[in-house]
């Protein structure tokens, strides 16, 4: 079952892979850039979510 978090991870995975292949040729550099992008996006998303935690939320929306 999909969730907001899973979709965010999936999106970060696709975009990180894309830019890794686009910008780097050597395997070691690819791994480094992939980890930077992927962890940056997922970590950044979690950080923003944490900062937004005090704000009131609306009714939960189901994800198909």
């Amino acid at each position: 079952m999909l969730s907001h978090f899973l979709l965010m991870v999936l999106y970060a995975l696709l975009v990180s892979l894309f830019f890794t292949l686009l910008w780097r040729r050597e395997r070691k550099e690819q791994v480094k850039l992939f980890l930077q992008l992927f962890l940056g996006m997922v970590g950044g998303g979690l950080l923003v979510a944490w900062l937004m935690y005090p704000f009131p939320s609306g009714p939960p929306a189901p994800i198909p």
């Binding site: 999909l2 979709l7 999106y11 696709l14 892979l17 894309f18 292949l21 929306a61 189901p62």
Partner: protein, 137 residues
Amino acid sequence: MAEPVENPAPQPVARAEGNPLAAIALALLVPGLGHVYLKRWQRGLAFLLLILASLAIGCMLGGNLYRPEGGQPLSYLATAGAMGVGLPYFILRYALEYSGDVMGAGYEYGSAFLLTAGLMNWLLVLDAWDIVRGKKE
């Protein structure tokens, strides 16, 4: 006194064989095809898979395949972005009559995936252009 920092100029890369216009046209038509034409098989196929995956996820979530809407200037910009994916955009829009599910819970996520697929392919077109000009490997 500090020693001057060496900053070597980037090494020139051998120009890829192929017609620049054909490379761009193919890259615009099908994601990754420009790279395949320039004999970057693995990268081309990887890009094709990534962009198709993004499209498939966007469609499964019922995202918006942007199209121009009168009175909404940003929709033209979004359409230009989404159309970057090339042939798949027109297949989805005209052959499959895909329109998304504006009431679906995954609508916003799906729209992001669909738009991202188009924008990624615009970058691939520029990448193919750089390769054929010898600016990139």
